[in-house]
């Protein structure tokens, strides 16, 4: 197509918008452009300084975060009470999605490692969307379910691997 025409039909700078960014997050992958524009009114943009705690283990969680820019470290306490780094997340990653549907205490601590902008999506807003725009809300929740079930399957497979690896040597030792 002639670049002259393509420029008219594409909104300039759409790739820089929050809606476009949200569309690149796996949970919201199935949302259309209109839905993403609506989602943009639902989320909260929050700024964090380096080292600032986003949430701590045991806090009551009420939503998930997507990293727009910057980095986040996820830590968990082990049996000795020592902090152990679970993951270092960067722009485009998301975390805390388990708390989106039910109020549960956070199982890990999230800390910003640099100047970070997070996009927060919280239960209160999702519930509001369920009441007002059920179609879009169900798309969001379906995306969430898809991610969660993938993780569940993954975890189940790993668990099975571990239990087999535990069983195999013991069965080999016995006559």
């Amino acid at each position: 197509m002639d670049p002259f025409w393509s420029n008219i039909f594409r909104k300039p700078g759409y790739k820089a918008t929050l809606a476009y960014f949200l569309g690149s997050v796996p949970i919201f992958a199935s949302l259309g452009r209109r839905d993403l524009n609506f989602l943009e009114t639902l989320v909260h943009l929050r700024n964090y300084h380096p080292g600032e705690t986003i949430f701590a283990e045991g806090d009551i969680g009420s939503g998930m975060y997507v990293i727009r820019s910057g980095g986040v470290r996820i830590e968990m306490k082990d049996e000795q009470g020592e902090n152990r780094v679970q993951a270092d997340l960067e722009a485009g990653d998301f975390f805390g999605e388990i708390a989106l549907t039910t109020p549960q205490p956070r199982i890990a601590t999230a800390t910003a490692t640099e100047q970070t902008v997070l996009v927060g999506l919280f239960r209160a807003d999702i519930l509001d969307a369920v009441r007002k725009h059920p179609a879009i809300a169900s798309k969001i929740l379906l995306g969430l379910t898809r991610i969660l079930s993938q993780r569940l399957q993954h975890a189940g497979l790993r668990l099975r691997e571990q239990s087999y690896s535990h069983l195999e040597p013991s069965s080999g030792e016995q006559p």
């Binding site: 986003i54 009420s62 109020p103 549960q104 205490p105 239960r123 209160a124 509001d128």
Partner: protein, 375 residues
């Protein structure tokens, strides 16, 4: 080493004097300017309290209707216009069908009748007093009926004085309330989101969650209260119009509005209707029917057995002591209007506090579970 020479003797006294004077002067200036500022603010907002209150009420009532339209993929602004349009058409149809209740002639007639009702009440009081005096002669010098007469005349004067002014005010209400409630309906979400986004990161989730619960409960409570008042008012109006009593619509409005105040409100709302019935109709079957409408049908059956269980949760029940305190304090602040809305506002505060406490307790218990699991 250099040091600032310290003033001694009379110079010291002079410095002290200057400092004290400056302090007092600036104190007076700040105080007076603060009070003029408060005065300005009071003057500027004096006429706005009622329109804003009414707009908030309208907003709470219309919000569910707007949401119905929004669900059909219509933008919020368009939905609000649609709801306004439908309401306008409904009011038009209603007016065309039954004709407007003739408020003005009713008010004029009431103004003419009011002294008559007062006179009858005074007669009754005097009869009562004379019988009381014959039994308790030492009460002679306590002039109850004189006090009552004075109060009634003041009240009548107030009505005569306020009517033209309040007509102006009502006219402006018809303009301001739809305008305000339009903006409240359209932008309240954005305004609240902006306010909440001011909270520090660490408390943001908690504040958002608590706000969501509190606002839901409050909307539920306020909507329930208003619907209750509307239904009670309509039922009293209909019940009274079955008899020959005059001012049935006005008495319905009074019953509905006073019903917002628990315990005391319904009794106060009953008094004008009963007085008018006694004076105009006398004690007879009609009077007892009116009594039944007020007490049995509106209060006991409709309000206690049907409306309150459905519309209003038990959470918002206030202790009678708080009700009285809220009425007194509301009355001090905003007169009769304050007396009526004092109790709902007290309930609103109670609901908010309860929600926050409940949230904190679930917060603590889940944290305990997590900690115990780890140990």
């Amino acid at each position: 080493m250099t040091s600032v020479p310290r003033p001694t003797g009379p110079a010291k006294n002079l410095v002290l004097f200057v400092v004290l004077t400056a302090g007092i002067a600036s104190g007076i200036t700040i105080f007076s300017s603060a009070s003029t500022m408060a005065d300005w603010i009071e003057t500027a907002t004096s006429g706005l309290f009622l329109p804003i209150l009414l707009s908030l009420i309208v907003t709470f009532l219309l919000d569910p209707l707007v949401q119905v339209f929004e669900r059909a993929q219509i933008s919020r602004t368009a939905s609000i216009f649609a709801v306004y349009f439908i309401l306008l058409v409904l009011v038009m149809i209603l007016l065309a069908m039954i004709g407007p209740p003739n408020w003005k002639s009713m008010l004029d007639a009431l103004r003419a009748d009011f002294p008559r009702y007062i006179a009858r009440v005074l007669d009754y009081l005097n009869n009562l007093l004379s019988s009381v005096h014959s039994q308790f002669p030492y009460l002679e010098h306590y002039d109850i009926s004189g006090k009552f007469r004075q109060w009634a005349q003041e009240f009548l004067g107030l009505i005569l004085l306020e009517t033209p002014r309040s007509a102006m005010r009502i006219g402006s209400l018809f303009l301001l309330v739809p305008l305000f409630s339009f903006f409240f309906l359209r932008d309240s979400r954005r305004i609240m989101r902006n306010l909440i986004s001011l909270t520090p990161n660490r408390y943001f989730e908690m504040v958002l969650d608590i706000y969501d619960r509190v606002s839901w409960q409050l909307a539920h409570f306020i909507r329930g209260r208003i619907l209750e008042a509307l239904i009670i008012g309509t039922v009293v109006w209909l019940g009274l119009s079955l008899t020959d009593i005059r001012y049935a619509p006005l008495l319905g409005v009074i019953a509905g509005v006073t019903n917002l105040v628990p315990y005391i409100g319904p009794i106060v709302g009953m008094v004008p209707g009963l007085v008018i019935a006694l004076v105009d109709l006398g004690v007879g079957p009609q009077f007892w029917w009116i009594f039944c409408v007020y007490l049995l049908i509106a209060q006991v059956i409709l309000d206690n057995f049907i409306l309150i269980p459905i519309l209003i949760s038990r959470v918002s029940n206030l202790h009678p002591l708080w009700v009285i305190l809220a009425i007194v304090m509301g009355g001090k602040l905003y007169g009769v209007l304050g007396m009526i809305i004092g109790v709902p506002i007290a309930s609103v505060i109670k609901i908010a506090l309860l929600e926050i406490r409940q949230y904190r307790s679930t917060f603590n218990s889940t944290r305990d579970i997590l900690l115990s699991r780890r140990n």
